[in-house]
Symmetry: C2
Subunit: 192 residues, 2 copies
């Protein structure tokens, strides 16, 4: 039983499956089978597939925000916090090698589908963008904080995409090192 309701169980399963197989390639049956309920009973919890996607996106936004808040308390310098962001490439290495970045791949898919929830999915990117911008401002990069945030986001995306395609974990480690070096360089230029 634990604390999770059936609804939360469904959202968790959908979250996992949407990431692994993609949104469109995941069916009601797949999710229902995963949480051990009948396919028909699905309608009681969610009226449409978009409703599940919406719930999944909201859940991702929630725990992403939670993660960012947690990082905010770790370390006392903004560089160390940004390093937390860079390190997710290492922490989630295995998943990234198999399925890419959860945010990037979802946004790409929804863009191709012309899906109405596209904008909501993009908020995931915005969450990271705003948080990173905030950190760069604190580093002394008031002027180009947003550019630096976008730059770092893009670098991470690229690493995830390539690592996924080539199934290359050495590449991830190399690029993470370069990103850390880049970050250090930004810390130096900021003070001047």
């Amino acid at each position: 039983m634990a604390r999770t309701t059936k609804r939360e169980e469904i959202i968790q399963a959908a979250d996992r499956l949407f990431y692994r197989r993609g949104y469109e390639h995941t069916s009601f049956s797949d999710i229902a089978q995963d949480v051990q309920i009948s396919r028909g009973n699905f309608y009681y919890h969610f009226k449409t597939k978009d409703e599940i996607l919406d719930a999944v996106i909201q859940a991702r936004l929630a725990y992403t925000q939670q993660m960012l808040s947690l990082w905010e308390t770790e370390g006392d310098r903004p560089e160390e916090r940004i390093r937390c962001f860079i390190r997710i490439l290492i922490v989630n290495q295995a998943k990234i090698l198999s399925y890419g970045c959860p945010v990037g791949t979802l946004c790409s898919e929804l863009a191709k589908l012309g899906h109405p929830l596209q904008a909501d999915a993009n908020k995931l990117f915005t969450l990271f963008r705003v948080w990173l911008r905030h950190q760069f401002v604190k580093m002394g990069h008031a002027k180009d904080a947003d550019d630096l945030a976008m730059h770092l986001l893009a670098r991470s995306q690229g690493v995830a995409t390539l690592a996924n395609a080539f199934h290359d974990e050495t590449f991830i480690n190399q690029e993470v090192q370069q990103l850390c070096d880049w970050l250090d360089a930004q810390a130096i230029t900021a003070k001047t």
Copy 2:
């Protein structure tokens, strides 16, 4: 009539649709409607959907190779040729803003589908990788040519993904400028 056969017409339409809507979200009907043939007649040209995908990938490989060969003849320094690669972010700006990178999004999708043609699609990345590596070797980066090639590929991928999500063309221009600067820096460190 021109020179194109019906089969080539189908491949072209499928190529375009796979890029815009994604592979799975494009149906036989969609392609058939695009090239003005009946849905049933499709079977005469292609037995399965995978067969079309295979043909599309082969076509992409062919004209990508052709493009790389063309770049090989432009300019006399490898830096100028690599700049051709970077510039596709500008040349295909409108499409990238709407649909992302054709290579990256296809590989990501096929990875999620666990599709057997995944490896063939990845050859598109390899084509660029090998070509870029070749240019970096000529620049004097014999040792780290492959790392530089992968790095540049990843940067481009990230830019495409973010530009697509945020529909931001200014971001593309900024990042292209940074990539060119980075390339110049590599040209300098190579000679030493």
